[in-house]
């Protein structure tokens, strides 16, 4: 089942040339979206009844936690494609997606903490979402470390692909059990970022911010993937030709 069009897309050289062209456009769209979202969210959206302005950090917190989880699934899918059809490029996509996802999870945790301080008096609240986010961070760290601990980079890719797939299977169980654990110890206290019944003009900037974060994720992934392609294909002719042109 080797559809050659499928493998054509998967050739690193093709991806490198395509990304060469779309990179400028991608940067412009990403930064403009970010700019619009942040200004609208910070500047014009109404303050929350109880939490006042400290609530505005949601425009950073929700998109990053959203992307962190989506990034993990993307990483696992890339790993699965790499394992099944043995496509090198998708292994590298996974390898680059791990640090990006990790940083996004860290951002989500930090913004969560910053938000917790004024409203609930402490940086860290053992809440369901925060705990699952912390565990997601540990999963990212595990995949990142495993990928780099093999002498042969190919088996390192395969191992981290397997770990991310196993992690994906376990994520729903972890999230369910953390929710259940949360209701066990503090059934009645705070549960932020559940589906907030938000006022419309609080919601639109959030939507823009989420889309902006998707573009940021795509941009970061493309950039680090280009670096990975150059380092992995340093032996091939087209990379040597490329370097000689510089």
């Amino acid at each position: 089942m080797n559809w050659n069009w499928f493998h054509k897309f998967a050739s690193p050289k093709w991806f490198y040339q395509i990304s060469e062209r779309i990179l400028p456009g991608l940067c412009v769209v990403t930064f403009s979206l970010l700019f619009v979202g942040l200004i609208w969210g910070i500047g014009f959206a109404p303050a929350d009844a109880k939490q006042g302005n400290s609530f505005r950090i949601i425009y950073l917190h929700v998109p990053s936690s959203f992307l962190a989880l989506a990034g993990y699934f993307l990483m696992a899918i890339a790993g699965a494609i790499g394992l099944i059809w043995r496509i090198k490029l998708s292994f590298w996509v996974m390898k680059c997606a791990a640090p990006i996802g990790g940083i996004l999870t860290l951002l989500a945790l930090v913004t969560g903490g910053l938000w917790g301080k004024p409203t609930w008096g402490s940086f860290w609240v053992w809440d369901a979402r925060a705990t699952s986010m912390l565990i997601l961070l540990f999963l990212y760290i595990g995949v990142y470390l495993l990928g780099r601990s093999f002498q042969n980079s190919d088996s390192g890719d395969k191992a981290s692909a397997f770990l991310s797939i196993i992690g994906t299977v376990n994520i729903p169980i972890i999230y369910k059990s953390v929710d259940w654990w949360f209701t066990l110890h503090q059934p009645a206290t705070i549960n932020f970022t559940s589906a907030p019944s938000m006022h419309p003009d609080m919601f639109y900037p959030l939507l823009i911010m989420i889309i902006a974060f998707y573009f940021v994720y795509g941009l970061a992934l493309t950039l680090s993937l280009r670096v990975e392609i150059l380092s992995r294909e340093r032996k091939t002719k087209w990379v040597r030709k490329l370097i000689s042109q510089q």
Partner: protein, 228 residues
């Protein structure tokens, strides 16, 4: 190669590993001794107040059981990898599901089950409330089985790496979360006098899922030419 092994693949590999474990009894008791020592040290750090110990006891015992099984699960494939019999295992013309399950069961019987059996004694050491001893033991029997299954996956992933013991812990720890949650809440439910069959059922369902998933993923790992 070994043709008539097909019928009782599970038992033959389990018997072989049990035989090896019994030949070297001292090695297979290490997790139990580690568990006893580390639980005995807890009151020194937590202070020996009756109420505080009683409240902390279930969580402490579960975490220490996790650590003991985690440390011992590295030896699951490491010895076979070093003396070459892991390659022979991968070469055998039969599916690795039962082979791996047999090895993990042998590891569970020799290394993790003693911990579950010793847990009531440790519970008394930490002055746990007597009526929750039974639920502690049941929970740990299932819990250690889940720990061994997940430890097997971690061991398979890190068999060809350099710094094994830490790496295995780092990649597998997040996956232990649901087991720890349901396991220890079983005892807290029991102490509150509440209906503790929910967490037990949850723990059992996780155990069933793991019994399916971990041999499948381990055989996938070994057959995907990752073991250099």
């Amino acid at each position: 190669m070994n043709t008539n092994y097909q019928s009782n693949l599970f038992f033959s590999y389990m018997r072989r590993d049990l035989l090896i474990a019994f030949r070297r009894k001292s090695a297979s008791l290490n997790p139990l001794i580690f568990f006893v020592m580390i639980v005995a040290l807890m009151p020194l750090s937590l202070g020996s107040y009756e109420s505080r110990l009683q409240q902390m006891a279930p969580g402490v015992i579960w975490i220490m059981a996790l650590l003991s099984v985690l440390l011992s699960s590295e030896s699951l494939f490491d010895e076979d990898y070093r003396d070459g019999s892991l390659e022979q295992m991968i070469i055998t013309p039969n599916l690795l599901f039962m082979v791996v399950l047999g090895k993990i069961t042998a590891h569970w019987l020799t290394k993790s089950l003693p911990i579950a059996i010793a847990s009531p004694l440790m519970g008394l050491l930490l002055s746990i409330s007597p009526e929750s001893i039974f639920s502690l033991m049941i929970g740990l029997i299932i819990g250690t089985a889940c720990f061994s299954l997940l430890g097997g996956v971690g061991a398979a992933l890190t068999v060809a790496t350099k710094d094994k013991s830490f790496l295995l812990a780092l990649i597998i720890m997040p996956l232990y979360v649901p087991i720890i949650i349901f396991g220890s809440s079983m005892i807290y439910y029991r102490i509150d006098g509440m209906y503790w069959s929910y967490p037990l059922a949850a723990l059992l369902s996780i155990f069933c899922m793991l019994t399916i998933l971990s041999p499948l993923s381990i055989s996938g790992i070994f057959r995907s030419s990752m073991v250099e």
